[in-house]
């Protein structure tokens, strides 16, 4: 196939996909629109986490905490009669500021210590929320959150939120795509491969890590802000530690370090868990079946996915694409592996 044909094919495909994702909220049932919104929100969070894990090489097990910070910021402001759009805008700022402040000490840690410290941050945040009832509603939660208004336009139905999430998700993906192709993006990639090497090359490693951590938290914050208007109620129960783990799973399934992997990871993991959740609920089925499906089968599916495609869905597709069209820009060795990837692994190993 000629380059021209390929180019045309890609363009047509992109247009079709764009139209399909835009049309989906119109044809989906109301419950499926909810799942569409859930996938969109997860995509926003996972894009940030992928940026953090794949590009800065930092694993956060506390991303749901920033999601929660965004949700509580918007929710608290909205119930105190702030304009809802201002409340929504404040969500990523609050999450970003908190990430920046705690990032200064946390990002000095490495490996497991960093992972556990982000996890600890989430646990601490949940305790703080539960014990500041006057502000957050405590464990009972905060209800009566008004609908989101953009000027005279009320965002109230599932379809409205589907489009809002779609717009924000596309914006976030574009920002991330451009960022990863810019100088900071190249610096982050270098850091992910070898921090000491990047540092030796003159990259301000600590500063980039902190900025990346802040940006990923801001993404989670805006998703949390939309979430709170979408559901209209928040409690600490909406931000369990398992949600943070799920975000990490989405990153890995989609493909670490791939921007579009965030979409795919969020969609695949959400749909798998939705299907498994609905399978075991029939009245005639054994009462323990949902647990078997949600833990055992879910884990099995994820293990199989990661065994078969350890690079994630997008990472694997990307590799296959390279194999079909080997070129001088990314030479492959005799095993079909990218020489670049082999180099990365050799350095890290």
């Amino acid at each position: 196939m000629s380059e021209r044909m390929r180019s045309l094919l890609v363009l047509s495909l992109a247009v079709v996909i764009g139209l399909v994702t835009l049309a989906l909220p119109l044809v989906l049932s109301s419950s499926d629109v909810e799942i569409y919104v859930t996938i969109g929100l997860a995509t926003i969070v996972v894009t940030g986490l992928s940026l953090l894990m794949g590009f800065a090489g930092q694993v956060s097990l506390g991303q749901a905490a920033f999601y929660g910070v965004g949700a509580y910021t918007a929710g608290i402001m909205a119930v105190h009669h702030w304009p809802s759009l201002v409340a929504l805008m404040a969500a990523p700022i609050a999450a970003g500021v908190i990430a920046f402040v705690i990032g200064v000490p946390l990002l000095r840690l490495k490996g497991h210590a960093l992972v556990f410290s982000t996890l600890a941050f989430q646990l601490i945040l949940l305790v703080v929320i539960e014990n500041t009832s006057f502000l957050t509603g405590g464990a009972i939660g905060l209800s009566g959150i008004p609908a989101l208004h953009v000027g005279p336009l009320a965002i109230s139905t599932g379809k409205d939120y589907a489009y809002l999430v779609w717009i924000v998700a596309v914006a976030v993906l574009l920002i991330t795509r451009n960022l990863t192709r810019s100088r900071p993006g190249r610096a982050l990639r270098a850091m992910a491969i070898t921090a000491s090497g990047a540092s030796a090359a003159g990259i301000a490693v600590e500063s980039y890590k902190l900025k990346d951590f802040t940006l990923s938290a801001a993404y989670a914050g805006i998703a949390g802000g939309i979430y709170v208007f979408f559901i209209g109620y928040i409690s600490p129960d909406a931000f369990p530690v398992t949600l943070s783990i799920e975000f990490v799973i989405m990153v890995v399934v989609g493909g670490i370090g791939t921007v579009s992997g965030a979409f795919v990871g969020a969609a695949v993991v959400t749909v798998i868990s939705q299907v498994l959740t609905s399978l075991g609920t029939s009245p005639s089925l054994p009462p323990d079946l949902p647990t078997v499906l949600s833990l055992g089968v879910y884990a099995l599916i994820l293990i199989i996915i990661l065994r078969l495609i350890p690079a994630g869905v997008v990472g694997t597709l990307s590799d296959l694409w390279k194999k079909t069209k080997p070129s001088a820009s990314n030479p492959v060795d005799t095993t079909g592996r990218s020489v670049l990837d082999s180099t990365v692994q050799a350095k890290d190993g």
């Binding site: 380059e3 495909l13 990639r189 559901i231 129960d237 909406a238 579009s260 694997t316 670049l340």
Partner: protein, 426 residues
């Protein structure tokens, strides 16, 4: 390290390094093309998955008047509330089977559609919308309080009645249209425990509560009512639902001079608290709310739980009720079937959900299988279920009174009514 090793970057560092290596324009364009295709395939997968997920079009067929009546159920079959939700489902399914076996309601069978909220309020909202798409006429609502609160706006908007099985009073205080609840409220449980303490001559009480919605609500309701019963709370300690050590709370209770320790909370933490309470040699009465009124607490607590005072719905003491008690036959009929099938006496959750199904069935019998008809009937319904006799009104959507709350003593794993309750039930 493994995570980093698996990074595959299209384009990568080659030709893009900070050192100034440059790709020629052609190579750059080709790289972009590949990325665009990858991104497109990714988005396509996303779209296809969604399409696959979409099991039904936006318009749903309305249930035929002669077909089965669709009733929805949202409960927690996975996640932390699994033990509660599983028993809810068992109770509801048993009641539906009993109704269908006796010919259904107005000659129509009931089709129960169960959804799992995974102990997650967001999923509960998805479940509610799914049930509405399925065309259910009423819903047996969540057991998880946060799920109940999350679906409230949708319940109001859908105008489909939801009889919730969660214990949060705030959902019916004040009474909201279309929202009802079957468990005893924390208010009436608190009042009955206070009445018991007063009857035992207890005036100085310490409290320990978990920081869950249930623990917080129960404690605050009880604190607000305490002065009416001459009770003073002289110590208040809180703990997390995942706590395993209670030494600091119990040490403070021991030195406070309290005549009893009241515990509000739900989950495994209460078992640990009971064990440590005994281990520290505390001998004052240990009181629990109705969250501990089942073998889910008495079994793991074992000998340490012996003697604990536990509030319970009236269904929990079914075997001990006199045969003259109005709800006795209803309770025992349900309990015997449940025990024969599942091997244990039904916990309150099973009674709560079974009762909710019975209420919906009665409402359909009276007013037909429409959401508005069911709601109208529920607003004036008096019905006896495994939880006792409910009297709903437009301003009372919980329906139970303190007379339906038993105060029991854990006696070798069995909840035996106290003299206080024996006097109440006759």
């Amino acid at each position: 390290m493994h995570l980093i090793q698996t990074i595959k970057r299209d384009g990568g560092l080659q030709g893009e390094g900070d050192g100034g290596l440059r790709c020629n324009l052609f190579r750059k364009e080709r790289g972009r093309l590949r990325k665009a295709v990858t991104a497109s395939v990714a988005v396509a997968s996303f779209a296809l998955l969604l399409a696959a997920c979409s099991s039904s079009p936006t318009t749903k067929p309305v249930a035929k008047a002669k077909g089965p009546i669709k009733i929805g159920m949202i409960t927690s079959l996975t996640g932390p509330y699994t033990p509660l939700g599983t028993n809810d489902k068992l109770g509801a399914v048993q009641e539906v089977n009993a109704i269908n076996a006796s010919g259904g309601v107005n000659g129509r069978k009931i089709d129960l559609i169960v959804k799992d909220d995974t102990t997650n309020p967001t999923q509960a909202v998805v479940d509610w919308k799914t049930l509405m798409s399925d065309g259910v006429v009423a819903v047996v609502g969540p057991v998880f309080s946060s799920s109940c609160m999350a679906i409230l706006p949708d319940v109001q908007a859908s105008k489909v009645p939801s009889i919730n099985t969660c214990a949060d009073d705030s959902q019916v205080t004040p009474a909201r249209k279309y929202v009802f609840m079957t468990p005893p409220t924390t208010l009436i449980v608190g009042q009955q425990l206070l009445a018991y303490m007063k009857a035992k001559g207890i005036t100085k009480v310490a409290v320990a509560h978990d920081t869950s919605a249930f623990g917080e609500a129960g404690w605050h309701e009880m604190k607000a009512e305490a002065s009416k019963y001459g009770i003073h709370f002289i110590y208040d300690g809180s703990f997390s639902v995942t706590s395993t050590t209670f030494t600091s709370i119990l040490t403070a209770v021991k030195s406070s001079g309290a005549q009893a320790l009241m515990v509000w909370g739900a989950g495994p933490a209460e078992v640990g608290l009971t064990t440590q309470f005994r281990a520290m040699g505390l001998t004052i009465p240990l009181l629990f709310s109705h969250a501990e009124a089942s073998m889910l607490y008495t079994k793991p607590a074992g000998a340490a739980g012996n003697g604990a005072i536990i509030a319970s719905s009236i269904g929990g003491i079914g075997p001990f009720l006199p045969s003259s008690y109005p709800a006795k036959s209803t309770i025992m009929s349900f309990a015997n079937t449940f025990k024969a099938k599942n091997g244990y006496y039904p916990p309150e959750f099973a009674f709560d959900a079974g009762g909710a199904v019975a209420m919906i069935a009665k409402a359909i019998e009276e007013n037909g299988a429409t959401p508005a008809g069911i709601d109208a009937a529920l607003n004036h319904m008096t019905i006896t279920t495994g939880d006792g006799t409910y009297s709903f009104s437009p301003t009372d959507h919980s329906g139970l009174t303190t007379n339906q709350v038993a105060i029991t003593r854990d006696t070798n794993g069995t909840l035996v009514p106290t003299k206080f309750t024996k006097a109440m039930v006759g």
